[in-house]
């Protein structure tokens, strides 16, 4: 954190002969990363408070006592000389590694962590070359399912307590704990109950050994089999950055990818585990007309016939993770031949388009007070919920909640919860202006639609008024992945449309109102799968999932982020924007003959101001680091 006056005092120290200047208060282990010196750690994690439990990071520090000290708990000091490679430090770390391995089973060949395991890497780089372990190892029943999605292997556990601390510090869920003591200690869930937190999956990434592994991904692939790209999660409007892992053109794993602007390296279980649709064997791969397979040409003709002359009785339902590029194509169609058609977005809130200068997620770190209105953030915007928790518990922000029900944020003992009657959040917000918790700014106001129970127009006015009076900024909490993009393109407004009364319906993804309107006489479905709620459509077009498609999303703070597909769709699968452009061309729309997505993106940036970021082509992403540890010693 910078000092109040903006200046960050720095400290210069020497690590293995390298001079490094870092902000005051930096821990030695972080300073060493700056000069690419690896200090191995198990218990330390850069997003959690240091505990100094594993003792893996022992280094020699002078001036100081003649004994190794933990680099993960010691802050830097001016003139400090750190030696990671002195005989004392090297043997101290090798001793600790030998201890870690004393009870660790030799089942690396069947362990899902094998190949990307810090314990393996450290043993190669810092351990003794031979083993002197001559005693039998501890045994536990394994693997133990902690939930439907996570398995626990106690034999492999090195008891770094990262998972339990994550549950205590980051999510406040406290679902994991240690039982027994000494060499008999083991990790267990509270009262043996299965994990229920929506944030549980992060402990898989956190675990420095193979003790916590995914059951969804279990034994799917070894790390070296997979190719990966850094992409964006498609499940909600937060836009967490993720790493997508591919093997044999199947999406086999989704892990987090740290972006401190948004997710700080955490993702929720929806993003981590709900990716399997794209691999389903019953996926639609070929267009169908009236139940039989057809060519794209035939399917497009049938579609055009179906929507011919529908005018304002044409309804278009679009999926929540529609890309900006597809939205732009739809916008062109709605400007032209499909003028008057009604559009519905699946999974959206009833929030109106955002005002000027909305809050960014990273601004929560600087907030002194946070007001959460009419939203269960853990459900609506999970990773923003973690950011609120961090601001409150680690950065000292005060928390005020306006919601009818008990929320998980109420676990903070000093949180003030104003229980409004459903639908009366606006009135409750109007009374907040003189509230004692909001005396000190900046104030961050996060507001949702109460899952449809609130009058969002009135609430928007109340929030805007509160923001001006207490000197804060607000952020509407959209739910659908690209809801903000759809609002920007003007495809949808603050009032959700249920498409009732439409005679021809194009349904891209699951139907937005939950089902196809009864009035529809012609239905075209464009999706990965045929779902029960689709009924029996006249035309079926195969669509691409978020791991295969090119494009970008606008997240709830208005940030445009580009997708990097890891799968390569095989014909006749086609990109969504290609399909829409062909439709436009067949409808004689001019300027829809784009030769590639870049041309389309430039056109979109010119046409819609909020899509201006599309014009700058995606930056070549740095290679994502799948597991967040310091770089290996060069």
């Amino acid at each position: 954190m910078p000092e109040p006056n903006g200046a960050v005092p720095t400290v210069t120290l020497t690590i293995d002969g390298h001079q490094v200047t870092v902000p005051r208060g930096t821990l030695i282990v972080e300073a060493a990363k700056r000069v690419r010196i690896e200090i191995p750690v198990f218990c330390y994690h850069h997003k959690m408070d240091p505990v100094g439990a594993c003792r893996m990071c022992l280094v020699e520090i002078s001036p100081g006592p003649p004994r190794p000290q933990t680099a993960c708990t010691t802050p830097v000091a001016e003139g400090m000389v750190v030696r990671t490679n002195s005989p004392m430090a090297v043997s101290a770390r090798a001793d600790i590694l030998e201890y870690e391995l004393a009870n660790h089973p030799l089942d690396c060949p069947v362990c899902d962590k094998g190949g990307e395991c810090p314990l393996q890497d450290y043993t190669f780089r810092h351990g003794y070359p031979t083993s002197r372990i001559n005693a039998p190892r501890r045994h536990f029943l394994k693997p133990i399912p902690l939930s439907e999605r996570i398995a626990l292997d106690r034999e492999r556990c090195v008891l770094c307590y990262r998972c339990t601390r994550y549950y205590d510090e980051i999510t406040w869920d406290q679902e994991l704990t240690a039982d027994h003591r000494g060499a008999d200690s083991y990790i267990t869930s509270q009262f043996g109950q299965p994990l229920r937190s929506i944030f549980s999956g992060n402990i898989i990434d956190l675990c420095p050994v193979g003790a916590l592994t995914s059951r969804v991904w279990r034994f799917e692939a070894r790390p070296w089999d997979m190719a990966y790209t850094g992409s964006v999660c498609s499940r909600c409007a937060v836009g967490c950055n993720v790493t997508l892992w591919e093997r044999r053109n199947q999406l086999v794993r989704v892990t987090s990818r740290q972006n401190d602007e948004i997710d700080e390296g955490w993702i929720c279980d929806r993003g981590r585990f709900e990716y399997t649709e794209v691999n389903r064997p019953d996926r639609i791969r070929v267009p169908q007309v009236e139940g039989r397979e057809a060519t794209w040409d035939e399917a497009m003709e049938a579609l055009l016939d179906g929507i011919q002359g529908a005018g304002h009785r044409l309804g278009i339902s679009i999926r929540r993770d529609v890309t900006n590029e597809e939205l732009f194509c739809l916008w062109r169609l709605l400007q032209g031949p499909c003028r008057g058609a009604r559009v519905a977005l699946e999974g959206r809130t009833s929030l109106p388009a955002p005002g000027e200068d909305t809050l960014l997620i990273r601004d929560l770190d600087c907030a002194r007070a946070i007001v959460v209105v009419a939203s269960d953030t853990a459900d609506d915007v999970p990773i923003v919920n973690l950011r609120i928790k961090k601001a409150v518990s680690k950065l000292g922000a005060r928390l005020l909640i306006v919601h009818p029900d008990r929320l998980d944020l109420d676990r903070w003992p000093e949180a003030e919860h104003i229980r409004n009657r459903p639908g009366e959040a606006a009135a409750a917000v109007r009374e907040l202006a003189g509230h004692p918790l909001l005396q000190e700014g900046p104030v961050a106001i996060l507001w949702g639609d109460g899952r449809g129970s609130e009058d969002t127009r009135e609430l928007a006015a109340a929030v805007a008024e509160l923001a001006t009076r207490v000197g804060g900024r607000s952020m509407p909490l959209y739910r659908a992945t690209n809801e903000r993009g759809a609002l920007a393109a003007g495809l949808i407004s603050g009032v959700p449309d249920d498409l009732e009364g439409c005679e021809a319906v194009i349904c891209y993804g699951p139907p937005a109102p939950g089902r196809i309107p009864a009035s529809a006489r012609f239905v075209a479905v464009w999706d990965l799968l045929l779902r029960p709620e689709h009924g029996s459509p006249d035309v079926v077009l195969p669509a691409l999932g978020f791991a295969e498609t090119q494009g970008s999303y606008t997240n709830l703070e208005g940030r445009v982020q580009f997708l990097h597909p890891v799968l390569h769709p095989e014909p006749p699968l086609r990109e969504g924007w290609e399909v829409l452009c062909e439709l436009g061309q067949r409808l004689k729309v001019r300027e829809m003959d784009f030769v590639g997505i870049f041309q389309l993106q430039r056109a979109a940036a010119r046409a819609i101001p909020q899509f201006a970021a599309l014009a700058s082509p995606p930056e070549p992403e740095p290679q994502p680091t799948p597991v967040l540890y310091g770089p290996a010693r060069p």
């Binding site: 060949p109 693997p143 089999d225």
Partner: protein, 164 residues
């Protein structure tokens, strides 16, 4: 052959007979020697104990497969001819002793160079290179050896061998 001026001097006919006899002796001696030619399709020459031929996937005595699907053979393979897709053993469907088994195990014999690295990498001695070398076939597809081709027969299900 105009210049036959250097014709050898006429030799003693006995010398010719002697030379003939000498040649015959070599021939006759060879007749008595043991035959070294093997009649290949009918007869097979012996293989060295460590000969690296066709792969086998071994089983334990109780019939469980040794292979745990760890893919270390595939990782060690210099030509990338091995494909392993693993799956989890369950109580109802137990294939190998531990948690994991190979659901798919394929070797592309056209690519394989029989270096034996897979054998060395295997932590459970599941894959071994056997003595068989007659691997020719009539189509490329048939060179993809699948798991059921590679697995040795299940001793638990075999007829007991009756020794006479």
């Amino acid at each position: 052959m105009t210049d036959e001026t250097e014709r050898p001097a006429r030799r003693n006919p006995l010398q010719d007979v002697a030379a003939l006899a000498q040649g015959l002796r070599t021939t006759l001696a060879e007749v008595m020697r043991p035959v070294v030619t093997t009649q290949y399709p009918e007869e097979k020459s012996p293989r060295a104990e460590r000969y690296r031929g066709r792969h086998y996937l071994r089983r334990y005595d109780n019939g469980l497969e040794r292979c745990i699907g760890c893919e270390l053979c595939a990782a060690a393979c210099p030509v990338g001819c091995i494909l392993v897709i693993a799956a989890e053993n369950t109580e109802d469907h137990r294939v190998s002793p531990g948690e994991r088994y190979a659901k798919v195990y394929e070797i592309n014999m056209l690519r394989c160079i029989f270096c034996g690295y897979c054998e060395e990498a295997c932590p459970v001695q599941a894959i071994v290179l056997g003595p068989e070398y007659e691997l020719s076939d009539v189509s490329r597809e048939r060179f993809i050896y699948t798991k059921d081709m590679l697995l040795e027969p299940n001793p638990a299900q075999q007829e007991p061998i009756v020794v006479r």
